[in-house]
């Protein structure tokens, strides 16, 4: 018998979460499902399209309450997106819901042509994204979705970090006429500190100010960046935390301001380090000619380690300890003296 699997947070991180009094919310996926049901009650043109994915998408209550507003296509993701495009072209407001791994790979051509090229305002909803499915293996991981969708024009790409951002992203998606991809994980998420800024697609949320290092993170990694920033404080390091929920369009202003204000940038994403948030930030910084220490944290280009989402995060340093370490290294390399150990 092996020992019980460790959780997402170390004992030190759990203690810090307690100290910060952050409320543990629900899975972002559940926040999505509740929000789309609430919106659909008020607007009968809102429809959900599923590929045998209503259970995974927490949409059974939706199907029970609004059976006339759910379209089931069976396990057929290409058809799922094509049907959603047709619905959108005929005046419906469709949310095409399927695991991100299948949705953004098997039906990528339908997203590219039927949604983006034909400009049908489908809300493409990738559920259980990133490595949410953990031990189910690479077939069920979506570590490519941000990269491939960044390379397709006419679609926004949004990765909410907590329940607030999830609700806001779905409300924005329902209202906007441009195609949008939103991806959700299925782990319960802590509520991040609120900012005074409204949630706007394309505008980052700076959830913690700092001047030495900036973590620019997205989705379920943001909480780890926040914990790392708090841990670094005890070492005398002032760390900024940006929730870059919109990978596309990227909030270039916030990226560049962070690069100018701080000595180092650490990008964090539940995605391959190729083609995702980190690359987007790097090109923005390089184009602007700003010199700053830079590190991309994510999943490297290798056979992905097996294990739960927690195991995979910890293995690749998407953790309070891992991110603190990366920030420390960057700052040391920039010849900044760090107090403490």
């Amino acid at each position: 018998m092996s020992a019980p699997a460790p959780g997402m947070f170390s004992q030190d991180a759990l203690a810090l979460l307690e100290q910060l009094r952050l409320n543990k919310g629900k899975a972002n996926l559940e926040a999505f499902a509740e929000t789309v049901l609430s919106l659909a009650r008020e607007n009968r043109n809102i429809v959900v399209v599923t590929s045998d994915s209503r259970g995974s998408g927490k949409l059974v209550p939706f199907a029970s309450e609004l059976p006339q507003q759910i379209v089931e296509v069976g396990i057929a993701e290409q058809n799922l997106v094509g049907v959603a495009a047709g619905l959108a072209s005929a005046g419906k407001i469709p949310f095409a819901v399927s695991p991100a791994c299948f949705l953004t790979a098997r039906s990528l051509e339908q997203i590219k042509n039927d949604v983006c090229y034909s400009d049908n305002p489908v809300k493409v909803i990738g559920i259980s994204a990133g490595v949410s499915y953990g031990a189910l293996g690479t077939t069920h991981h979506s570590l490519h979705d941000l990269a491939v969708l960044r390379a397709i024009n006419n679609i926004d790409v949004v990765v909410p970090a907590d329940n607030f951002e999830s609700v806001q992203a779905i409300q924005a998606a329902a209202a906007q006429s441009r195609p949008i991809y939103v991806r959700f994980g299925k782990a319960a998420m802590y509520d991040l500190p609120r900012t005074t800024d409204d949630f706007v697609v394309g505008k980052a949320r700076v959830i913690r100010e700092g001047t030495d290092v900036a973590f620019i993170a997205t989705g379920e990694t943001v909480i780890h960046a926040l914990l790392a920033a708090e841990q670094l404080k005890s070492n005398g390091v002032s760390a900024r935390v940006v929730s870059m929920h919109s990978v596309k369009p990227l909030d270039v202003d916030v990226v560049l301001q962070s690069a100018r204000d701080c000595q180092a940038i650490v990008t964090v994403e539940e995605h391959l380090t190729a083609g995702g948030l980190g690359d987007a930030c790097a090109s923005a910084i390089l184009e602007a000619g700003v010199s700053v220490g830079f590190k991309q944290v994510g999943i490297p280009d290798e056979y992905t380690v097996t294990g739960s989402q927690s195991d995979i995060f910890r293995h690749y340093g998407i953790s309070m300890e891992g991110l603190s370490h990366q920030a420390g290294n960057l700052l040391a390399n920039r010849n900044l003296s760090m107090t403490g150990n």
Binding site: V71, V73, G74, N79, G82, G86, S89, A90, N120
Partner: protein
């Protein structure tokens, strides 16, 4: 059904063929054979069946036509011009820098419903539109045109299953069954016969017609659908139809005629026109 005589359709048919060749020759590119095989289907659709016009194109209750075999775009452009969606002279920009008239349909061209060109996309989109029609209890109909080679794309069969499951009797798929694709005979490339039995097994009503017979096409496309079932019209056609040396010859899939070939093709078309006393 819109009243137009078979003689008028025949007249249009030859004029459409003339224009298809004219603009392909002008552009130096185009899918000649497939445009000539499907143009009679488009002729009947736009002149007799579809409840759509430039004036009603934004009407939510208009009939929809989506050309899944987008490469035969020249036939569609020529017919849309004849319907008054845009001035025919715009086709002189076909495949030119900054023209909206590219080698596959795009919504930048008035009258085009959806951007197509990648095969296997039209039917799923039409399923979505047909479902929306059912939700709204609207009475518009949805039509799509597929190639027989295109049926190798699996997405068609996902959509075929879904259409029958949802009882989409407002949906009609038309197969331009010209039996050729770019490599050769469809049956030699990857045999997909028997198409009729396959669609029937998927729960569709199957109608087989001569795809160059205006009357057979009209009957198949205007007859009431079987309640609760989508309809497929298998239109037996000849690739390159109307030009002797192009008929049923695979190289004309996207061949552009030389000057001599172009002159010969026009001569043939014009002789048909003169023989039948058609006034252009």
């Amino acid at each position: 059904m819109i009243e137009i005589s078979t003689e008028q359709l025949l007249s249009k048919s030859w004029q459409y063929r003339r224009n298809i060749l004219k603009y392909i020759k002008h552009a130096g590119a185009g899918h000649t054979g497939g445009s000539l095989s499907c143009v009679d289907i488009l002729n009947v659709l736009y002149n007799r069946i579809l409840n759509v016009s430039p004036g009603s194109f934004n009407d939510p209750n208009r009939d929809r036509y989506i050309q899944s075999k987008g490469h035969s775009v020249e036939a569609l452009f020529v017919v849309l011009a004849d319907q008054g969606f845009f001035d025919e002279s715009q086709l002189e920009t076909l495949c030119r820098y900054q023209s909206h008239f590219v080698g596959h349909p795009t919504r930048h061209v008035p009258g085009v419903e959806q951007n197509t060109g990648a095969l296997g996309h039209g039917l799923p989109i039409c399923v979505g539109i047909a479902i929306a029609g059912k939700m709204d209890k609207a009475d518009f109909r949805v039509f799509t045109l597929l190639g027989d080679g295109e049926l190798a794309e699996g997405s068609n069969w996902e959509a075929a299953m879904c259409a029958a499951h949802h009882g989409l009797d407002n949906l009609t798929a038309i197969i331009d069954y010209n039996t050729l694709q770019i490599t050769g005979r469809t049956r030699d490339v990857c045999d997909n016969s028997p198409i009729d039995k396959k669609f029937a097994a998927f729960g569709w009503t199957v109608r087989c017609v001569d795809g160059h017979s205006f009357d057979e096409l009209t009957t198949a496309l205007s007859d009431s659908p079987v309640k609760g079932r989508p309809t497929v019209v298998i239109a037996n056609t000849v690739k390159g139809k109307g030009v002797s040396f192009m008929e049923d010859v695979v190289k004309w899939h996207h061949g552009v005629p030389s000057d001599a070939e172009y002159a010969q093709a026009l001569e043939e078309i014009d002789s048909h026109i003169q023989a039948q006393g058609i006034l252009l």
